[in-house]
Symmetry: C2
Subunit: 251 residues, 2 copies
């Protein structure tokens, strides 16, 4: 079952009966909540991957430090996310709380057994791993060919979609991370992030909200933001149709 994305009717019924035991969230819900202070680490790159974590509340950054001291943030974790699944022996990155955070943990061994025993858990895990893979690939596209403005807009757009999906009608985003975090995530410098935001404000696309300013950004023109983000859903279609041997396009 690991590979099929959706449960069939029978499984849905079964899942309803044993809800607590048969969903990932249920699996974690038995564990005690642990608290992380701002800046506190959940685990370090290279540590033996002994646990799987569920983020109950808060935001974390996951990152690597390069030999020359540069930091690359490979993602952020929000409430509901699960970390530590698609790993073998060791964590491939460090994880650190950006805000006060609550988490639950399960020993990998326990987690593995539970997942291997449950026909309901496997598709859920699989689905999440697929989403993670898709996200990393999008990030790869962003880093390999987008301009600073496109990167920022893509980032803000994704956050916007997340809050909209969460049922929020207001287009004001909270950015729990610092400008430096955004820079390290987007492959830019802090100065470029700052300048680009200023430019977007100038265009009327976004606006900084008064109070706890800088960490709250209002999206004034979501449509234009999507435009500027530049992934007008790519375009494999034209590729398929116009495919002639040597029509390689410029970089």
């Amino acid at each position: 079952m690991f590979l099929s994305s959706y449960a069939n009717a029978h499984q849905v019924a079964k899942a309803a009966l044993f809800k607590e035991a048969e969903s990932l969230h249920g699996l974690f819900s038995r564990q005690p909540i642990e608290h992380l202070a701002v800046g506190q680490s959940l685990f370090f790159e290279g540590d033996e991957a002994k646990h799987v974590f569920e983020v109950v509340e808060g935001t974390l950054r996951i990152f690597r430090i390069l030999s020359d001291g540069r930091r690359v943030i490979t993602g952020f974790l929000y409430a509901g996310d699960i970390v530590g699944v698609s790993l073998k022996e060791r964590y491939l990155y460090s994880a650190e709380a950006i805000t006060p955070t609550k988490i639950r943990r399960i020993a990998r061994k326990t987690f593995d057994e539970a997942v291997s025993d449950s026909d309901d858990l496997r598709p859920e895990i699989f689905s999440r791993v697929c989403d993670e893979m898709a996200a990393v690939q999008d990030q790869l596209v962003l880093l390999s060919s987008k301009t600073a403005e496109e990167r920022l807009c893509t980032f803000l757009l994704k956050l916007l979609q997340r809050t909209i999906a969460a049922g929020n009608r207001d287009t004001t985003l909270e950015l729990p991370m610092t400008r430096q975090d955004m820079a390290d995530y987007l492959g830019l410098t802090i100065e470029t992030v700052s300048r680009t935001i200023t430019k977007l404000i100038g265009k009327g696309v976004v606006n900084v909200v008064n109070p706890a300013a800088r960490h709250f950004i209002k999206i004034e023109k979501p449509g234009m933001l999507a435009q500027l983000a530049g992934d007008d859903s790519e375009c494999p279609e034209m590729h398929r149709d116009l495919m002639v041997q040597g029509d390689r396009r410029h970089h």
Copy 2:
């Protein structure tokens, strides 16, 4: 068992008994071989993900085309690789033969069932998905913070490791892909790739082999290549130890 990376003794014995049925390669080996000509597509981004493929021989590129015509190559596939696993409904990228290629295919449905029924297949799949995830993350680090020279060296180094792992003692690499492919993979332009190779030749690190030149590169100084690649195995250690709140380093 999906989540444990290594089979235990019992499973190894069992796998030996039913080898053909209990390994991924075995699963594919019953399927007929299909041939792809150079430039021919295996599938397109957005297509319904109906099959899983094993590359028997040859090299493919997997890529996306952006709305403005730019192409981002997210990876290459070599003999022994399997494509199409970590997907839900649709392929996230197109796949195209770089050299004459032989593949085998299995319907996703069949594949999923086989994997779900076998305690031996799941860890193998899981292991491969983990490797894929690790590779994408490395690529992400490369794109977000490495210079042109570091990117090229990282790329060549990885190819070198692959051929060494394959038991090859010669340090001459075959580069089946074009310079444009390398550029699109490394987030550079073809001109920068070309210039950087020229520079590496100037330093005596690599050399272009005479005959089918350009597609065969000899690594003259593997050690220096590794140096220039720049991932002296990162350094989370110092981070863990010297962790003081505000010591963020420059980008």
